[in-house]
Amino acid sequence: MNTDRPHALLLKFPGTNCDVESARALAAVGFDTTTLPISQADSGSLRDADFVMLSGGFSYGDYVMAGRIAQLRIEARLGDALRSFADGGGHILGVCNGFQILLKLGLLPTGSLIDNTSGRFMCRWAGLNVTDRRSPFLKHLPDHFELPVAHAEGRFVAADGLAAEYVAQGLAPLIYENDINGSSERIAAVQSENGRVFGLMPHPERFMERRHHYDADWADSPRGWGFLFFQGLAEELGVAPSPAMV
């Protein structure tokens, strides 16, 4: 482990499939990253971590509710360690399947991610509006930006009225520009009160560089919006701003 850099831990389950590009994204903004298969994890695994990420994929196939088996495996292997990490002010990110798992673990405001209204998997790009800025992930991002999405179960729902409350309280920091999957209040991301536990359906790790955009002439930023997303956290954890960002 390179101790100069903040240490990121990527938890991997059978069926996790965005771990390689997520690790690449974290390395690009200055993290020292370890990918840890859940079979090797235990209550001491988070000891040296500054940041824990759950990336996208289909943990255990997601044949029952997406993320449910992974939640049970985390609880069995790590016990309370992830909750203690969050309670101690640790940063946790869940992307797509990782978001689904964080919700099941109860580390985010209560809610569920269920089948898209289309009933189909959907791979496309989506416009996002920022509604709250307490999270370091959003520090460098403009009020409106785009990210790729790819999911079948991305419709955020919560008990009556809760979704609107989340938006009002700033707990739903990203809202889809258009309704793409039926999410209540068009919610794309939710975060904890302190903004340190963050879950979103879109994939920032897939848009690190300009060339990742579908439009050859896209030039709204020198790097992809995903780079800026991870860059915000890296700076929060002590990585000096990269010259490209200034």
């Binding site: 499939n17 791979c123 060339r211 050859a216």
Partner: protein, 794 residues
């Protein structure tokens, strides 16, 4: 769960005559011919004993068309209008020989071809890429979801079993179906699944396997034709990346033979022999056990395990369990050394499997590898890390014999050398080129034709399907299947970035079955041309392209159908040689016909030509969508060609017209000039002219809605045929106005026409001809027409 006892029997063959042997083959569903059975009898007469059922099943599987490609090895008496000739093996003559000549012309480019699970070409100094395409037609016909699901799962394992384990990085899928609006009462056989059901099942099968594996499905095509109602075609392909040092693998005596992944059950029995026979209504009831059940998460765990083990240098040899199961995997692995396998060690899904079922089962998600026994402890640790099951099946030795033990009994002992010597087939083929008929002139409302074409199933958008595939997982899809300023316009191919390399990989493909109905030779030329053209357009170096041929044929015993195959093969051979693009892998599928109550219905001879090209620098990647409203539009290539094979000819029922010829050498010169102009920074976008001709190509380029289009057609040609013929070798190129002269200059002496320009009127497509606007359409409206048709059905 394991077997508790050996369960096999001896089958007397030594005293049977030809008729009785053939009857035995039918009774056991071995799909072996009379000649094959006579060879079997000879083998066991020499061995001085009767075979076991395990041995007969192993031989049937090893000699099946699916595994041995005996028709591509057969001696064929081929007759055409010009006379007769003897083809001494299609594969040897038209695939291997011209390819090997290219290997020699380009030393160090093709790093492996024809002998491994996939062929490799060099990406850069230390990495290579590979591509493999398989068909899963019969399983998809009787169980579309599971058939396509395991079709993709199987070809992914081919990549994991290529070299010492390549990393799968992208997939492609190509389907041939009946039209989704086929009237149900028009289907003339019972138990045939309606094309819409087949399409829905197949797409979801590919989606659920590819998405769960985390391999982006980035390229594809769908052909609709009534001939595919009874026998749909499902091609699944996967590309991989490997360090060059891990390509070569060799077996030696004393290695442990290890199985990793899923357990073994009755699913997928006799798939190899099942796929080597025709379909009938009874297939739907009787052959269900030949179709396997897919479990992508099991395969994902195996993939993680294989890649980690390869990176740690723990693998000496690896191959997939495909058709034939352990029999074919262990058979392949032990064919040079010999070795022993112990069936009682195989973990099972269900009890009561007989010996041959354990050895032949095609249960999914299993890989077989050979490792130094000293590395077994670490391999066991990795299996625990990735939560997959690993079992030591046996070991290699130096006996030259494949010995299979089951609870202490020797249930199979075959001489590996003799096992692979199937009797050679001798066949007859005949292709008489039909007199091309004169068809009435194509004339009328050019705008109306354009609207009709864009809404036709052959051309309309596949977005509804593309968006169900995760085509961006792994984060390396640089040129996406849908792109342009709005992210929803069609592209000519896909480009995948490769981790740790400045170079990238382009994928392209072509399939033109309509052409082959009239002229299979020209179809062969055209598919190679189109595939190479796509690869070059999206960014590949024209000199660094590898090709794959995947044939699907009806009844090879029908001389006309076999004749069409011979002609197609000659066509692709000629084109591949002219383009200097070798074949690195391929596959063939026969017996794609269905016996209805009214007689057999065959598919037209179909070839999927796919290719992988090396993109030297990411900066070479070029999209097909217009980018600027002040550009010049050029048309590269020969301007006129006959209408045969075109979508407009089919729409207007102009049948029997001559299909276009292709001058591959001239086209290659053109593509090299194009690549040079692109490298010099002179190209903004480029789109190939293919289905729907120039008219559709212009409209599709305009679907970015970044610019209007205004072009002028040459006075010497009639407008409609000029706009809608599908002659090969043509590219529409967008060039910045201030670079137009420099661009044109690089094509001196080559066919190039300045067609017109893009305009600031972003929704207008205007085509002038002889002083008249023959097309004046709203691009946004055309785009809606193009986007909708499949959505109504899918």
């Amino acid at each position: 769960m394991h077997t508790t006892e050996a369960n096999y029997q001896n089958i007397p063959v030594r005293d049977l005559d030809g008729d009785a042997l053939l009857a035995l083959s039918k009774e056991m569903k071995l799909s072996l011919s009379r000649e094959d059975m006579l060879a079997v009898r000879t083998y066991f007469r020499e061995a001085g004993r009767e075979p076991t059922d395990v041995e007969l099943e192993v031989i049937a599987q090893t000699w099946s068309e699916h595994c041995k490609h005996r028709i591509f090895g057969a001696k064929i008496e081929h007759t055409t209008n010009e006379g007769s000739e003897t083809v001494d093996g299609l594969f040897k003559t038209y695939i291997k020989k011209p390819s090997e000549e290219v290997f020699e012309r380009k030393p160090g480019f093709v790093l492996s071809a024809f002998h491994d699970n996939a062929g490799f070409i060099r990406l850069d100094d230390d990495k290579a890429v590979c591509l493999k395409v398989e068909t899963h037609n019969h399983p998809s016909a009787i169980e579309p979801y599971a058939g396509a699901n395991t079709g993709l799962g199987g070809v992914i394992r081919d990549i994991l079993g290529a070299g010492k384990g390549a990393k799968p990085v992208a997939s492609l899928d190509v389907f041939c179906f009946g039209a989704p609006d086929t009237p149900p009462q028009g289907i003339k056989a019972r138990d045939v699944i309606h094309p819409l059901g087949v399409m829905r099942g197949v797409v979801r099968g590919v989606r659920d396997y590819g998405n769960r594996m985390g391999i982006p499905t980035v390229a594809g095509a769908i052909q609709f034709d009534e001939t595919y109602i009874y026998n749909p075609l499902v091609f699944c392909g996967t590309a991989g990346v490997i360090p060059i040092r891990d390509i070569d693998k060799t077996m030696r005596p004393g290695l442990a033979v290890v199985s990793v992944g899923g357990r073994t059950g009755r699913d997928g029995l006799k798939g190899a022999t099942f796929s080597s026979a025709e379909l009938t209504g009874d297939s739907h009831a009787e052959d269900q056990s030949a179709v396997q059940i897919g479990n992508p998460i099991e395969e994902k765990k195996v993939a993680d395990f294989i890649l980690a083990a390869r990176e740690e240098g723990l693998i000496e040899f690896v191959t997939d369990c495909g058709a034939g199961g352990y029999s074919s995997a262990a058979g392949e692995m032990l064919s040079e050394t010999g070795g022993e396998v112990f069936l009682e060690r195989v973990p099972l899904k269900e009890p009561g499997l007989s010996s041959w079922q354990v050895f032949l089962s095609e249960s999914q998600e299993r890989m077989v590898l050979a490792a130094d026994t000293a590395n077994l402890p670490r391999l066991r640790e990795l299996a625990a890390v990735f939560e997959t099951e690993m079992v030591e099946l046996g070991h290699s030795d130096d006996s030259g014999l494949l010995k299979v033990w089951h609870h202490g009994e020797l249930v199979c002992e075959l001489d590996c050398g003799k096992l692979h010597n199937a009797p050679r087939r001798e066949m007859i083929s005949k292709w008489m080129r039909p007199e091309s008929c004169r068809i009435p002139a194509l004339e009328g409302d050019c705008g109306g034709m354009l609207r009709e074409l864009l809404g036709d199933f052959a051309i309309c958008s596949r977005a509804q399907i593309i968006r169900e595939y995760d085509h961006e997982v792994q984060g390396n899809t640089i040129l996406k299947p849908l792109a342009g300023a709005r992210g929803d316009a069609p592209q000519d191919g896909s480009v995948i970035e490769v981790d740790g390399s400045a170079s990238a990989m382009a994928l392209g493909l072509s399939i033109l079955p309509e052409w082959g109905k009239t002229d299979p030779y020209r179809m062969g030329l055209a598919v190679v041309d189109e595939c190479v053209r796509q690869l070059v357009i999206v960014g590949a170096d024209p000199k660094r392209i590898g090709l794959l041929d995947n044939f699907c044929v009806g009844n090879p015993e029908d001389p006309k159908e076999l004749g069409a195959l011979v002609e197609t093969t000659k066509g692709i051979a000629k084109a591949a040689e002219a383009f200097g693009a070798p074949f690195i892998s391929g596959k063939d599928s026969f017996y794609n016909y269905f016996v209805t109550d009214e007689g057999p219905v065959s598919i037209p001879t179909t070839i999927l030509l796919s290719g992988v090209g090396i993109v030297g620098e990411i900066g070479h990647v070029t999209g097909s969508s217009l980018r600027s409203s002040s550009s010049v539009l050029f048309l590269l290539g020969q301007e006129m060609a006959p209408l045969g094979g075109s979508v407009i000819a089919r729409c207007k029922r102009l049948t029997g017209a001559e299909v276009p010829d292709t001058d591959c050498a001239a086209n290659f010169t053109l593509y090299e000039a194009f690549a040079a102009a692109r490298t010099a920074g002179l190209v903004l976008s480029a789109h190939d002219v293919s289905e729907g001709g120039l008219g559709v190509a212009l409209a599709e380029a305009g679907f970015s809605l970044s610019a209007g289009i205004e072009v002028e057609l040459p006075v010497e040609h009639e407008a409609a045929p000029f706009l809608y013929h599908e002659g090969t070798g043509r590219i529409v190129v967008e060039v910045a106005a201030d670079k137009a002269e420099e661009f044109a200059a690089t094509f001196a002496g080559l066919p190039l026409r300045r067609l017109g320009q893009t305009t600031a009127d972003h929704t207008r497509l205007v085509v002038h001809h002889r002083g008249e606007a023959v097309v004046e359409e709203d691009l946004a409206a055309l785009k809606s027409l193009w986007k909708e048709p499949l959505g109504r059905w899918y």
